[in-house]
Symmetry: C2
Subunit: 361 residues, 2 copies
């Protein structure tokens, strides 16, 4: 059964109103506000059919209607009006982005905090990284018992480690090690650092004190850490301002899941680019804890095969339009600043694609 234009308008009105008030929406309210010239009785007939079709439901016989996940899905895919952000909001985002963005690693917590502040929902930021290699290897001799390892990665982040030794080393040895590592350990991934390689380096450096393995261990740990997706959740407390989380148990469960670094992107679902925003509504989420929440995700490109995700979690009664818009802008801004992006973040407004699991446009 196809859905008439009027039904669509009514559905949109129900969702809009419900998002605004968190109260079931009655026929009278729609007749009064939605501006389609018909009486509440007519609306009632239509509402009954929308319930039959699965877009709406009633908490109980004498209550108004509430959107089902399917209703939200329809709303997100076809009905919702794209909220243009106000000039102030757009500027606010850009201002904040410019404020401090150095390394991606420092930034991930900032990104999630920013997303949470802007949307007033809990937000989660994470980065994943394709194969990272070491680009450059330096060892700084501090004194006979101390040196600093400085490693520059293919994604242009720089890691260092201060090493204190129980024994003394001389400067030539450090220099030898530095150049050996710089030639032998650059351009390779973590699993290419084999015991064989370490051994041969150790022999070549004439290292009898196990320095080589200390340095190699650092190299491995750095590459390892870069591979593990870093994630950061913030603003969990904002959940509590949502009426659907007034039940502390419900809130506790979801917050626990989030703080535990729970993944929000279902396995197998991939993000295509910074212009795409994914919306996962209620049961479309795989995690049990998210089954009656919604998640909105944007991805950004941080250059050098580093992808980042920004996700926002809230009740299914979320302000999809505004949040999607904000995340999209944020993601575009990040892509642009962190290397991958090219277009100006303004342009994004006209290209925003919103997708979800059961979308089939």
């Amino acid at each position: 059964m196809s859905i008439s234009e009027r039904k669509k308008k009514i559905l949109a009105a129900v969702v809009d109103e419900y998002i605004r008030t968190a109260e079931p929406v009655g026929s009278k309210a729609i007749a009064a506000n939605a501006g389609l010239g018909c009486s509440s009785a007519t609306i009632r007939n239509e509402l009954a059919e929308l319930v039959n079709m699965g877009y709406l439901e009633q908490p109980h016989t004498s209550a108004g209607r509430v959107p089902t996940p399917m209703g939200y899905r329809m709303y997100v895919n076809e009905l919702m009006e794209r909220q243009k952000l106000s000039m102030e909001e757009t500027e606010e985002i850009n201002r904040r982005l410019n404020q401090r963005l150095q390394e991606l690693d420092d930034t991930i917590s900032d990104v999630s905090r920013l997303a949470s502040q802007l949307t007033n929902y809990p937000a989660l930021a994470l980065t994943t990284q394709a194969a990272v290699t070491i680009k450059r290897f330096d060892i700084i001799y501090v004194d006979a018992n101390t040196f600093i390892i400085v490693v520059m990665l293919s994604n242009n982040s720089v890691k260092n480690k201060l090493v204190h030794l129980p024994v003394s080393v001389d400067q030539p040895m450090m220099q030898r090690l530095s150049s050996l590592f710089n030639s032998g350990f650059t351009g390779i991934t973590e699993d290419q650092i084999t015991p064989l390689l370490i051994n041969s380096t150790e022999r070549a450096a004439d290292d009898t004190m196990g320095l080589t393995s200390v340095i190699a261990a650092f190299a491995i740990s750095v590459l390892n850490e870069a591979k593990i997706p870093a994630s950061f959740v913030s603003g969990e407390n904002r959940l509590l301002s949502q009426p659907e989380f007034r039940d502390p148990d419900k809130a506790h469960k979801l917050m626990g899941y989030l703080s535990g670094g729970g993944y929000i992107l279902p396995p197998g679902v991939t993000m295509s680019g910074p212009n795409e925003v994914k919306v996962l509504i209620g049961p479309e989420n795989v995690a049990e804890e998210l089954k009656d929440s919604s998640v909105i995700i944007a991805s950004y490109d941080a250059g050098d095969n580093t992808k980042g995700l920004i996700g926002v979690v809230g009740p299914t009664r979320m302000d999809y339009s505004a949040v999607a818009e904000k995340l999209s802008l944020l993601a575009a801004g990040l892509s642009q600043r962190l290397g991958g992006g090219e277009g100006p973040p303004e342009g994004i407004h006209n290209k925003l694609i919103i997708k979800g699991d059961i979308s089939n446009e």
Copy 2:
């Protein structure tokens, strides 16, 4: 009016029971459990006096008694039995501490997470730093447009920054800058980096491209950041498992305060050392948001004038003994591992001093 031994026992029984059950404690329950050989009527008389003295209060006429902040204070200062941690708990703490402790900076989030996990309350960790200076300055030449600044601080943490230039620089220039900074910018605090110093360095290096100010800016920002106390809150969601925070508004308010990095140590109150644990009960806290919560704080010494704090926040009905014990152990372990400490963390058990604002032992 002085307080009799029996009153003390009764008070302790009330607090213990209330901590356990979160329900007002009646005279019958005390007569049955506390093991002082007298009837509930006697207990009732004593309870009435304890109410008069301000140690207890009644939610309403026909309810049991609940400790007042003053009652908790007495309990913490004099009455509570020091809970020895079980072997497993002690080992758990040490195991977790050993697991990963590299730089203090990385650690602060781990410390707070750990404290929160161990105590099941939200926890906050922070470090403050007395004057930090630069100990060593290196500039690594990567290519004509790229170099890495590596700065080692007096607290032995190492910071780096990758700089991309729009113009080309030659290696000798970098070397010149490196050694100039290494001699001119080490051993001084942030406010000693004056425009004068920057200018003279610039001239000495023959730098016409503004490199000097880029590098100096990094030096300033590093020293600045080291000065700002880093703080990290985790486990906010654990608040929700406490019955006194079943009211979402109350929980939201406190969690908001915590996530905002709200300070928990009243200004002017200082921590004397890792063996001391401070307890701030309800209204003893200065922050309005903490007025009906309690805070338990331990401090650790991370070497080189760096002090750290671990704080745990909960309802006034907290398990003071267990939490204080755990925090103390954690703080001692951190002190020991991060440089400042000397004694083995086991020894701490016998020296634990618990203090608070109105303590006057």
